[in-house]
Symmetry: C2
Subunit: 321 residues, 2 copies
């Protein structure tokens, strides 16, 4: 939620001259994306996002992320697309950092999504999965099931400070998840972080999916499981089956679930809750004193882990086989 | 440099419905202005700035600031202007804070202004002073000469930590400034904070003056003295007489200096340097541990105070009587 890297006007003008975008008319650092520096710029061709990639994004992953956006956008998925330089490059350098110009998408994210937003989301996610089928690049999920135990090890000794018994409960769930994690599900390119703040709407219509910087190659249904966690719980953490049914049926309109996916969904959903529990726990225990950014409470995701443990069939999420 | 207040999409939609601006198409928190929360929004009518006034701005001062922008803008001064609600109000409320919609100005501020930027600035400042002559409202300068000693008293005991001997040097300068401060100069509405980041350019042409939230009623030449300090010193703190001459002659093209203003300029410039020395010293000694915002070094302004003490005539700034 901060501008990390300041860009001088002369550097920006030189940078933009490599694109066929005319002159820069304005530039504002925007409080969007915690990983990168983003400016909303206006050039003679209209509004664009200028992103400078900070150290939390691996430079070697950038061709995957930018290539994916370009691939999806060319297939009609509403997402930002990198603008090529005059010489055809997607990635340049500015202020000592890798940098790209990305198209600007109109729309606003919904802080309190309604069921019809969830249905739109489901359709868009399935469309994205279908459109990425012929995307030629892959990237391992560095926050997938195999990453959870080592990630947890960094916080296990302090987990009890957050909630008594948390370490034992996580260890027990990890045993279960690792022993039963399905290996035979349809795999493709997943967004892996499709929370409400990464989905724009104009009125009732979805206008864009953004922030592909966690995208990777993994089970498609795991992406659905992340969305179930991110979109279908109320502020009091009650599960909203109306929203889940809307999300799942929207998805299956475009890409029907396989039987294996149907069977695996409760475990995938528990795993997705575990993934966010673990990264939040990690960040929670490492907040610098006086930091302006309040870390998100990991306990919210423990509640979700427990909820999914009690689910015996995807039909409890409102999905008909 | 942060978004302080989050606004929900529903609250924003309700707020915007009071204006004749159509629907909101996008909204981005921008890292601009340290005192207020700013969003760059796009509605069906184009881009606008949404400002929520945080506690460092006094609510009772808002009609002055907004009225001034409206007054200046109507007289052709390139500055943002508040958009009226359907019922003609300039100020509304959003997320529990006073809030206004302000027109968006294109342009970029110059991190390294050239002499021709200084000439443009001088002309724009004089134009603003002339245009405010018939502005009916007044606001005392709460950071004027009479405020400096009480402000200094809050930091005097710790000033030596910043620089040995600082307290004595400031006290000596304050004695001089208070004893000699001119009371008979032409008075009007001044911007009082016209640093480079508050002045936009498109190419060589000045496109806007922004951030009127320190504006007040005081000696017009004191505003010029602030700009001399803010625009005419190099990063190594050397005075650049070419820039000063451009600024002062640009100003006097539109509004010639009186003899009293000419005579007072060195003292006004020392006072302006003292004003920023004191507020920076105050902030420097009160940085919260772990704060993300680096306070500005007060010593830069001590160097300027000393420089102006050595000036005997405004002709040393490049101004011909």
């Amino acid at each position: 939620m901060a501008v990390y890297t300041e860009v001088s006007d002369d550097d920006l003008a030189r940078f933009i001259a490599d694109f066929d975008l005319g002159a820069v008319l304005s530039s504002k650092g925007i409080a969007e994306g915690v990983e990168n520096t983003n400016y909303l710029i206006r050039t003679e061709r209209g509004p664009f996002i200028l992103t400078l990639y900070e150290k939390r994004v691996e430079r070697r992953d950038l061709p995957f992320f930018l290539g994916l956006m370009q691939h999806l956008s060319a297939r009609g998925v509403p997402c930002p697309t990198p603008v090529e330089t005059r010489s055809g490059a997607l990635l340049s350098e500015l202020a000592g950092r890798p940098a790209a110009i990305i198209t600007f998408l109109e729309g606003m994210w919904r802080r309190r999504p309604e069921p019809y937003h969830c249905a739109e989301l489901g359709r868009a996610l399935a469309t994205m999965h279908a459109a990425s089928a012929d995307f030629g690049m892959t990237r391992p999920n560095t926050l997938g099931v195999n990453a959870w135990r080592p990630l947890f090890a960094e916080s296990a000794n302090s987990a009890g400070e957050v909630l008594p018994g948390l370490a034992e409960e996580v260890a027990h769930s990890l045993d279960r998840l690792e022993a039963n994690w399905p290996e035979d599900l349809p795999v493709g390119t997943i967004h892996a972080d499709l929370f409400p703040d990464n989905v724009f709407f104009l009125g009732r219509k979805l206008s864009g999916l953004i922030d592909f910087y966690f995208a990777c190659t993994d089970a498609l249904a795991y992406d659905v499981a992340i969305c179930l966690n991110a979109w279908c719980f109320e502020p009091d953490l009650a599960f909203n089956i109306t929203k889940a049914r809307a999300l799942l049926s929207g998805y299956s309109e475009i890409r029907p679930f396989t039987d294996a996916e149907f069977d695996a969904l409760p475990l995938l959903a528990e795993g997705a809750a575990m993934r966010f529990l673990l990264t939040r726990l990690h960040d929670w225990l490492r907040v610098p004193a006086g930091a302006l950014v309040t870390p998100k409470d990991p306990a919210e995701y423990l509640r979700r882990v427990r909820f999914h443990q009690g689910i015996t069939s995807a039909s409890d999420y409102g999905l008909d086989r």
